[in-house]
Amino acid sequence: MTTPMQTNSDNGSQNTPVIEISDLKVRYGDSPALNGISFDVYQNEILGIIGPAQSGKTTLLKVINRTLELTPDTTVEGSVKLDGVDIRTIGDVYGLRRRIGMVLPLPVGLPLSIYDNVAFAPRTAGIRAKSELDEIVERCLQQAALWDEVKDRLDSLGTKLSGGQQQRLTIARALSHQPEILCLDEFSIAVDPVTTMRIEEVLKTLQTEMTILLVTNLVQQAKRLANRTAFFLNGDLIEIDTTDVIFSENPSNQATYDYVNGTFG
């Protein structure tokens, strides 16, 4: 596939589409949340997704890991393909969800111990051996840059951690089932700027191993991290291009320019 859109900045993408979204329409009851959007996500890229509130960003992530099915009365049309397979034809929805790591914004419930939180997904997938679980827990906490802070109190409650630590714990948890794709939804809402920087460093390292979809309310975060950036507005994909173009003086749409420069609305 070659379209002009695929000119990417130096690091990341090898232009292999991992996710292909075509004409995706989502409705909650009668009110539309996504109005027919199409784009591809490439292997090992960080795709920034920006847009004001209610623009359908979270809905998009929920479609990808099929947790939208848990919300009653939703309609999904169009197709989302993961490695060329339409996700709706995948019978093992739990297996599909484990291929995608999902980091939700705080507050999320972490009613278990730090260890159990990270071991939750491997356990539900059937891993029982203590040594194997220990290894997964250590690896994921290390990847999320949390290991050094919590290695002596793995048995204490996840809720006893600070906000920034909790958010990193959700990242460790999302990594625990070795996902091919990592989706992050506005992770910096409850996190201080220093921790945000630490997590951003973590994401840059993770990019070598997986594809990252970064929904963010901070446009500068997309500018710092993303190879490409998509701008959503009221359920429409206004523009998707390399981050350099989106943040340049002349993106193809005026609304994009206004939004990234803070003069929107």
């Binding site: 890991n65 972490l110 009613p111 997904a121 539900t124 625990s176």
Partner: protein
């Protein structure tokens, strides 16, 4: 809730419990005295004759209410976790629950009276079989009118409360907790057993206590009505009445205690 506030609540609750117990003891003594002045006194009342009767009552009340509460909890799980909000079965059960929990226990007492006098024939026959002197042992024996009335009242009073409190407890587990568990690839069963139930458990327990309290209140009422309609024979009445009234008070206290001390884990940090 902050710690000092919590401590204050706990102290207040403890004081309430103590006052209630003291009041109950006074009340009990007073009741027993009236019994004596009626000239029906039996010296062995509180000790030898009373205790087995009380245990007999409990032996019957506890299993019934326990079963009814379990049934209510199961029903709440089914309605809340498996039926969609628009399902007509769910709508029917929820409307019935809202209706039944809105009725104060007192009205159920009146209902009980109605049922009693409606089946007065059956009731009298039972009493005659019980040979007058053994009246104290009659009320909660199986296969008596009183037994069936009690069971009916339990189903009407206890079950809606059990359903409602369990549903509230299940709803108190925030959507993000469920969603993030599902996102980790957990099945509905795993989400329920590993995330939802552990978090909702204190509230479910509190709800169970509340339902039990209602059961005991209903029992106290029934015993009261029973004694009232047979004033010449008061043996065992104070013990029973106090047992159930006290039980109801203590359980409802336990319930509010559980709800007070339980602080949702997600709000604990900073």
């Amino acid at each position: 809730m902050t710690r000092p506030k919590l401590r204050k609540k706990i102290i207040l609750l403890s004081i309430t419990v103590i006052i209630e117990i003291v009041a109950l003891i006074f009340f009990w003594n007073a009741l027993k005295k009236t019994d004596v002045t009626n000239g029906q006194a039996s010296p062995a009342l509180g000790t030898s004759g009373g205790l087995p009767n009380l245990l007999g009552d409990l032996n019957l009340i506890l299993p019934i209410s326990f079963l009814v509460i379990l049934l209510g909890i199961a029903c709440a799980f089914y309605v809340e976790e498996w039926l969609s909000a628009t399902n007509w079965v769910r709508r029917f059960i929820e409307s019935q629950v809202a209706f039944l929990t809105g009725i104060p226990s007192l009205l159920y007492g009146l209902l009980a009276v109605a049922v009693f006098f409606g089946y007065a024939g059956v009731f009298k026959a039972t009493l005659q079989n019980a040979e007058g002197s053994a009246l104290a042992g009659t009320p909660f024996q199986r296969n008596t009118a009183l037994f069936y009335t009690e069971t009916l009242i339990f189903i009407l009073t206890v079950m809606p409360v059990a359903i409602k409190t369990t549903q509230t407890a299940l709803r108190s587990v925030e959507t993000p907790i469920r969603e993030s568990a599902y996102a980790l690839g957990a099945t509905q069963w795993q989400v329920l057993t590993k995330q939802v139930v552990p978090r909702a458990f204190p509230r479910m327990l509190a709800g169970g206590c509340r339902a039990m309290a209602r059961a005991f209140a209903a029992a106290a009422l029934l015993v009261g009505i029973y004694a009232w309609s047979h004033t010449m024979e008061l043996r065992g009445f104070p013990d029973r009445f106090m047992l159930f009234l006290g039980g109801a008070l203590l359980l409802s206290n336990a319930s509010s205690f559980l709800t007070e001390i339980y602080v949702p884990a997600s709000t604990q940090h900073n």
